[in-house]
Point group: C2
């Protein structure tokens, strides 16, 4: 068995399809977001503006967050020293879980090392708690939900993206007595479109199903206290399990679920991905708690975020670029070819100091390869001008079509 | 469907078996490890000594580690702002990966948010790279390896713990042309026994199999530069993939694999658990790198660690307590009943301020429930006296047998 040749084959497949990924090595500068330094492969450096980060609100450089982290480091040291069950539960973890339970109006919350593992661990554990569980999963759910659904060993049904009629058909076709859960997202990050939350909750009520929502691209940014789209729409109480991240709008790291006390107790007791892993460092938990607390009242930052997204979409539309606009903060510009997308991204970086990563298959369907911009409150008018001008020039240079896609 | 009743059932099963886990909320004090404060459920506080942490060498309070973390926070902010592919690769991640590749004498290393996800993601991705792969997995492998093996979709064979003859039988029974990988650990954390590394590498050579080793409970602590048991035994070059953690002896957080450049490149390109998750915060990567770097030369700390473990085992043996001793740093005392184990642990905490978690099924087999002590260089003679005296008193109080188990 020639293992090396097999690795070559696997890597060559990616090269041939133009979707081999190269890490761009950057260093953000605290207090100066979205500016950063790009360390080129040849060892030289170039200043860049980051336009594809997920620190959507710039909280990763907020003084309240950094102060909390410094303080926890000084008080209690670096790591937690254990799993949650074996010496790794601290007052920092408890405080953060209380902050999150309060945020979502739930009895409890449960921290994980990432929202990826929160999705994967929770969804794969539910069938242990509810034997015979059938899981109904949106076709465009995030990879972490797919992994959790795949290996939960239970029955699964995939409904067409946001297609409530299809979901109803599937629910109606199954045994009414079987336990059911519907898993979906509030904002799908690649197109920036919203899930039909109310309609899905209505169906869940009708068929007696649990509801599981991923609010990873919404927490911190939507709702009067930043609890997400469910809060904005007055639907939070209708969701049984809410999944969120502390690594995007909250600017730190980690993921969680918020749910009933009993549900959290059962998940923490049965999920290997929770039980057998070292808990988050106290400084991380402290920083995340400070960020969640701060964003409960900083509506101004949320408004500015939405305004920046609106302005960028308006200006790119003005140039006739094919952007997708579902009214969220995510700004995808469709290029439609992996090689062109990569070339555009390279030129943006090299010639304009604009860092935006190409998004290719399998993250998005083939033929919809794109650049995805993430404007934030820390992107000023000067940064936006540079971006819009660069896109205008390169679009012409590459002779790409200027045609509005459906919004 | 009464979901709430089902949750009660699941939780009651744990209560009935005496293995419902309660979080002990502690706060370690930097500079004063292993001392900590226990926040009792009633809101009062009690000083305790932590005897079950995995910060084996006390690196979580080392000035070099904390200084690196403070510096990175000040320079670059809190979170990384993205996945490794989308704006989340920084010079801190690259430096840490270089430090780890150097540590293990491999071409490359790949960071994950935990060693749990490093095991799970890598083992579940290997069959994508080597179609038809058969995985041979030690029966006592860690939960994270079991999860990875289970969902990789490939064939699997479980060999009896450390039983090289059984492994040979299984290897010999399969198609010689099938790609194979043997997955095992260098130190099994519940008994503290060592895997037969050389014998397994010999078998791998004979049958043309890849070797995958988990050195989570060894890195930092064994080998002249802290690379683990494989380094100590001069076998590091014979392992294809080495898995390690930054959360135990290195005192911070995160996990990794070290392997050939091609192997790391393929895993990072194909593993959803790597691709679709926010990278470690730069400050975490900086702290971990400082810790790895420091322990490459701090042999004194490793010697002291081993000495402390030897002394504790000697003293507990002197009392006739049934400890397991395989010559590693882990000190399990077998109680053999979940309710007794929990009661002992509670009395240690309440009456003596000694925090040691009960270890129950499914973490260990039923009938071998235990207390597991983790002595470290920061546990002084006074702490050890208190522990030994407490164990002596409680063992008599509970009328438990004093009989030496096999070492």
């Amino acid at each position: 068995m020639d293992f090396s040749a097999k690795l070559d084959e696997a890597l060559n497949r990616l090269h041939e399809e133009g979707r081999y990924r190269t890490f761009i090595d950057i260093e953000r500068e605290k207090g100066n977001f979205p500016h950063a330094v790009w360390n080129r492969p040849d060892g030289t450096q170039q200043p860049v503006t980051v336009w594809c980060g997920n620190d959507y609100l710039g909280m990763g450089q907020h003084p309240a967050v950094l102060e909390a982290m410094h303080e926890a480091l000084d008080a209690t040291g670096a790591g937690s020293g254990g799993t949650r069950n074996i010496s790794g539960t601290t007052v920092y973890h408890k405080r953060l879980e209380a902050e999150l339970a309060d945020l979502h109006g739930k009895e409890a919350a449960l921290l994980f090392t990432s929202a990826y593992i929160a999705n994967d661990a929770t969804l794969s554990t539910l069938p242990k708690l509810f034997p015979g569980l059938i899981i109904y999963s949106d076709a465009l759910n995030h990879a972490s939900m797919i992994e959790g659904v795949r290996r939960n060993g239970g029955d699964k049904r995939i409904f067409r993206h946001n297609d409530v009629d299809h979901l109803r058909e599937l629910l109606a076709a199954d045994d009414p007595a079987a336990p059911k859960v519907i898993a979906f997202e509030s904002i799908y990050s690649m197109d920036g479109d919203f899930g039909p939350i109310k309609a899905i909750c209505d169906l869940a009520d009708e068929f007696g199903a649990l509801t599981y929502i991923d609010e990873v691209h919404a927490v911190g940014m939507y709702g009067p206290r930043g609890a997400g789209v469910c809060e904005r729409d007055g639907l939070m109480h209708r969701l049984d399990i809410i999944n969120g991240t502390l690594a995007k709008a909250y600017g730190v790291m980690g993921g969680y679920i918020a749910a009933s006390a009993k549900m959290c107790d059962a998940i923490r007791s049965y999920a290997p991905g929770f039980i057998f892993t070292t808990s988050l460092p106290p400084a991380i938990a402290a920083g995340a708690a400070a960020s969640v607390r701060h964003l409960k009242t900083d509506q101004e930052r949320r408004d500015l975020h939405q305004q920046q997204a609106k302005i960028l979409k308006l200006r790119l539309k003005g140039l006739g670029l094919p952007i997708i606009d579902h009214g969220s903060h995510i700004v995808p510009v469709i290029v439609g070819d992996p090689v062109h997308t990569k070339a555009l991204s390279d030129m943006m970086l090299d010639e304009f100091g604009i860092y935006v990563q190409p998004i290719n298959f399998p993250t998005v369907p083939r033929g919809t390869e794109r650049l995805r911009f993430t404007p934030s409150p820390v992107h000023g008018p000067r940064e936006m001008d540079t971006l819009v001008n660069a896109m205008d020039q390169l679009w012409s240079h590459c002779a790409l079509n200027r045609a509005e896609l459906a919004g």
